[in-house]
Symmetry: none
Subunit: 197 residues, 4 copies
Amino acid sequence: MARKTDRRVQRTRKLLQEALVSLILEKRYDKITVQEIIDRANVGRSTFYAHFQDKEDLLASNFASYTAQWDHPDETDHEHKVSPESPHVLHSLDFFLHANEAYEFHQAMFEGGGAEVMLETGRQHMMADVQNHLLDFLPEDEESDIPLPVITNFLAGGLLSVMVWWLKEKRPYPPEKINEMFQQLAMRGVESLFTAD
Amino acid sequence: MARKTDRRVQRTRKLLQEALVSLILEKRYDKITVQEIIDRANVGRSTFYAHFQDKEDLLASNFASYTAQWDHPDETDHEHKVSPESPHVLHSLDFFLHANEAYEFHQAMFEGGGAEVMLETGRQHMMADVQNHLLDFLPEDEESDIPLPVITNFLAGGLLSVMVWWLKEKRPYPPEKINEMFQQLAMRGVESLFTAD
Amino acid sequence: MARKTDRRVQRTRKLLQEALVSLILEKRYDKITVQEIIDRANVGRSTFYAHFQDKEDLLASNFASYTAQWDHPDETDHEHKVSPESPHVLHSLDFFLHANEAYEFHQAMFEGGGAEVMLETGRQHMMADVQNHLLDFLPEDEESDIPLPVITNFLAGGLLSVMVWWLKEKRPYPPEKINEMFQQLAMRGVESLFTAD
Amino acid sequence: MARKTDRRVQRTRKLLQEALVSLILEKRYDKITVQEIIDRANVGRSTFYAHFQDKEDLLASNFASYTAQWDHPDETDHEHKVSPESPHVLHSLDFFLHANEAYEFHQAMFEGGGAEVMLETGRQHMMADVQNHLLDFLPEDEESDIPLPVITNFLAGGLLSVMVWWLKEKRPYPPEKINEMFQQLAMRGVESLFTAD
DNA sequence: TCCTAAGCGAGACGGTACGTCTTGTCTTCCA
DNA sequence: TGGAAGACAAGACGTACCGTCTCGCTTAGGA
């Protein structure tokens, strides 16, 4: 059994991931060279390509576990089984909380220009997530006027946009607060801003 | 007066822009080479760089006039001075209509991978636009619970996301229809989907 | 008659020639750009090419009159019709005197790296000149052991080399003196240096 | 120890050198492109620049070993310790013999226009060589009327010129014969041609 | 004095080669 | 035997010049 090998392999992967992150903190992601990464990681060029297809692959691996949490959130706090009267159709708080924790990493991404790659991946996960949640709420037999993908895109797009703003602005509110705002906008719509509450 | 020169310059710029678009319709944007562009445009390499910094710059110039329309829409159809009862806080129809016209171009962008550049620029214009419109509706003296940028990001993010989906899906609805959906979501919120109308 | 035109043309040619020389005094000839020349001369690009084929052509024109003197020396001082006893088979003094006059120009050439072009042209003229003179001395009927081209190359090569050294060393001797040395070497050979005179 | 690497590197260098020579045999040196060289050598562009600064550098490397022989000739045939009666002040035969061996290469250079680079380098080596030999013959205590550099330039200039002629003429005489002519001219001078032997 | 053709400046342009840069593959050696 | 080291092929990049060209302005010399 190649247990020892596995451990070495994991170590090399980690070295490369950390090298990338540390570089991202210094300069734009898309200006980072494979050469720089392997220099920083003290790893041979061929070793890099033995583990990752390319730079993006390495980056993706960096937040694979990250987004994995979105797909498989801890099964503990599933207390937001809400009623239609008080529906948390979108468990957006999870996203904000999670973004809050990985704040520094996000900062690096935005400043470094690596955000696009991440955003696209993130968007896809978020979309899937949102859609799943919506499916729990929209009665299957009753076809809504608005197709599911439209709702999903609307919500995920809005959420992501607000979240990025929040992060770029260096979290002017606690995650719970910004989530509350988002929930109001998402659930009640803009119209509610103009009508008496 | 350098009139003739200007005309030549404009012609060259146009040749390059058209060459890029025609290439985008054939292959992924990021696989397109400067050499291919200038070959298609029958233009010298140095001429290319005399007019544009790089490939992205050329791409950007392609929808500069495009987004310019967002900033300075035709002053004719400013009839959406709507009442709060039927508020078109967001003149999103304009966006859908406009996207509808430039449909092929958008298709090329999305398929070709050049969308990122465009989306970012587009987002910025859209944000500014949305914000301006909101300012007309939010009473200045009355501070909302939710800061303006949050609303703006929410709406622009949702709009863009829906629009991209709509384009990528090859416009399954007429622009008026998709706009209607968006308006409902944006104005009334998701909650409205579950309540009796 | 286009008299006035001619005058303008001559002026332009002169401007370009002077611009080149002044530039050569500043930097290596082969690093000088056509653009720099026409900028310095305040002349349009097309005008340059209307007058000269290229940079080398302009350079050549600069010492066209120069070498012309070698081919058609002033017919006044032809008093070196020497006897075989005191033969000035090679009228090398002319070359040294001429080089002496155009000293600054030569300096520029050597320092500027434009010398090669000049040297090659100069060598050709010098060779032809030397050969002509030799023909006056070598009796046609009597075939020498050594073919004429060998002698010509030997003398012209040696003369040019000595002259270049002399110019590069900033003329450590008066032209008459260096010529005397050359004449001794050329006429009597190196052997004479070791034998009692 | 990078033994294997060295071998690869040497192979690449050789491939490039040979590619250049083979190209020179086909077309003018200054019309040869770096691209053509690397195509012929089956070598990547960056590899070329990893080994040589530019085209001239590659050319120079081609006769580096060549001129090296001039500086360090085989220590075997040092039997030209000649008496003043039969002085070989200048071991010019070595040069002719050497040029004879590398005949094809020279041909390529002259026809291809790459000769200038080579000639200048060759001249310098030849000058140093000639000067060293002269120092063995000219008694130090006895100052000649003619400075050493003048003699050196005269001899080296003449020798190079004759040699180039000889090569360009496709070696009309065996190297020993042309050397004999040169020696007579150099040692006894032109005057001797006119006097009874 | 006006007219007109040539000379000219300005500079856009197509084209070519350059030297740099980065990628992903491949080979060799070492631990 | 797996990984470090790094040479390498491939090829796009942005730059630098070149020589051609088109365009109007200026200007001189004949009308």
